[in-house]
Subunit: 350 residues, 2 copies
């Protein structure tokens, strides 16, 4: 690999001049400039970022620390972060905690196990001199890992940071659930069952609030017997449907598509016609949803927007172009979802 110095020697100029040309620092005569450019082309010279980063103290590289890139929300978010960073000429590296892969659904409760994985990665990331970090969570909860003295700017993506200088970008759970529930009510449903995740889960809690708000605004009462707490799995959707069906409902709001799939399983088993005798709404708009029979009415996650927003927050911070508003209060950005109407919800026949 040719180095800048070698180029300089060939051209009979100093390394500085070559550096200036490479980085477009203007003050070079057209003639030498052209000569240098030619040699660069001939030799196929490529600047060494490592050396550059060492000197410049800025690498124009940010790191995504993802809890698990195989989580269905991750790829689209990562992709949009990269897209945005490319526009602003930043490089992105991805680091993967593989949390779900390692421990399925339990890890986030065991602080020591969690940190045994996280800490070395963070250390690693920091050691590679990135300018900033986006932590990409697998599901929304409060994550407190960026202390106030964290050495580089950070953004919490798809989770809540609770730290004054680390903004969070999450989805608008409450409003979205409100919309779905309202849609169901407008279709004539009054007893609407809910299949959620665990009760302490933030997605579940917030969506339940939105659900309740819609009930309230329509003069309906919240009935705890209509809500089943599952674990986001297809199986728990099945169990949930079985349970709440006993309460005489006409619609099911499953808080994720997989559980909606489980509800379909049970309903099919009972010979109850979905989209006719009973309505079902999901959440997430995973690829599976469009293949359900009937196709599932659900809510799509604004993953691309979440990614872009997170990236923008970070890069603005790096370049100090952020609008003042932020300052020292905890910033949480909630990005709205959008309902996608398909075939699984229908007007209640009186």
């Amino acid at each position: 690999m040719v180095t800048l110095k070698e180029i300089a020697e060939i051209c009979n100029v100093s390394a500085t001049t070559v550096s200036n040309v490479v980085n477009g620092k203007a003050k070079t005569s057209e003639e030498t400039k052209q000569r240098i450019l030619d040699v660069i082309k001939e030799t196929g010279y490529k600047p060494n970022y490592v050396a550059k980063g060492l000197r410049a103290r800025r690498t124009r590289t940010i790191a995504i620390v993802a809890e698990d890139i195989a989580q269905f929300t991750s790829p689209a978010i990562i992709e949009s972060i990269m897209e945005y960073c490319e526009e602003r000429r930043y490089r992105v590296t991805v680091h993967n905690l593989r949390l779900y892969d390692r421990w399925a659904d339990t890890w986030y409760k065991q602080d020591d196990a969690y940190h045994s994985v996280l800490d070395p990665v963070i250390k690693d990331v920091l050691a590679s001199q990135v300018d900033g970090i986006i932590y990409l969570a697998g599901h929304t909860r409060v994550i407190r890992i960026f202390e106030d003295n964290f050495p580089v700017p950070a953004v919490m993506c798809y989770a809540l940071s609770e730290s004054a200088n680390v903004p969070s970008v999450v989805i608008e759970d409450e409003l979205s659930a409100f919309e779905v529930t309202t849609h169901l009510i407008n279709s004539g449903h009054k007893r609407i069952g809910v299949i959620g995740g665990r009760s302490e889960n933030i997605h579940t809690a917030q969506r339940l609030l939105g659900y309740q708000k819609a009930l309230y605004e329509n003069g309906l009462l919240y009935d705890p017997k209509l809500v089943y707490y599952g674990d986001w799995s297809r199986e728990s959707g099945y169990d949930g449907a079985k349970e709440i069906l006993k309460e005489g409902i006409s619609a099911i709001f499953a808080l994720c598509d997989k559980m909606a799939g489980g509800a379909y399983d049970y309903l099919d088993e009972c010979g109850i016609k979905i989209g006719e005798e009973i309505s079902v709404a999901g959440f997430d708009d995973e690829s599976i949803a469009a293949y359900f029979r009937p196709q599932l009415t659900t809510t799509s996650l604004p993953l691309a927007k979440i990614g872009r927003k997170s990236a923008k927050l970070l890069l603005d911070r790096l370049e100090d172009t952020m609008e003042e508003e932020e300052s020292d209060q905890i910033r949480v950005y909630r990005i709205p979802c959008s309902m996608v109407i398909r075939k699984s919800v229908s007007k209640l026949k009186k």
Copy 2:
């Protein structure tokens, strides 16, 4: 951020000694060693990889250049590459061409557009001094981008490289299709329709070969009228089913699950009972397959194995531990897939 030099000053030793301790270079007295280790812990010192890489000329970092991480095969492969690299203490950075995102299905035919995206990324990757590269394709075809003088070792993942020193890791298309077809034939089916991708597509071509081999071994003749060339989309699955159904078939082998989904659409529309009146097999075992009604019999892709194999090939090469066999012939590793039997294929009722 504390530096090695500062640690040295605090401990009243030279930078060399600290470096030796940090890297476990043995020849240090227990006493000073302990002192240094203590200070490192107190100060939270982290070695600067950038500086290290500059000096050491090896960064222990490999790059994945992915055509599109949002392609359904990518996340699992990336995840397994990372898992393997973690075991061998290599870092991984991911770079994303976003090819599908940019140009849907056409880019790989336009060399200039393709290179306008690829070249800067490769340049970038090289400039960041990675030790090696894994190119992760979105679908299998011949890709000729690593010349013989490519400066670092490379592996072609999910595509064919055709370059002597760049091994390729792909799936065993032909054998897998052979197995599916055999399964169908063993279930009594004699006229088996195929819905594939474009005819020039390698996946399609190879699987068709496997299909034909199974026919041959069972004394059946290949009939071109039974194969429809689609474009992997659900819609083309629908069109394909419509087309080949006219030929009086009792089973459909769709070369991807999405097209199987399209076939389901058409069959449902006609009121033909899948898994009873007609059998359908898919390919890929995407998450959607298990939600079909009836659940789809398909073939799952060995993504984790592909990733590990690619990573192993690269790291072995980096460390010169590879077995001799490779040398200078073109190496292609074909990883077998495995059928997953569900409900969409049944014995043909005579």
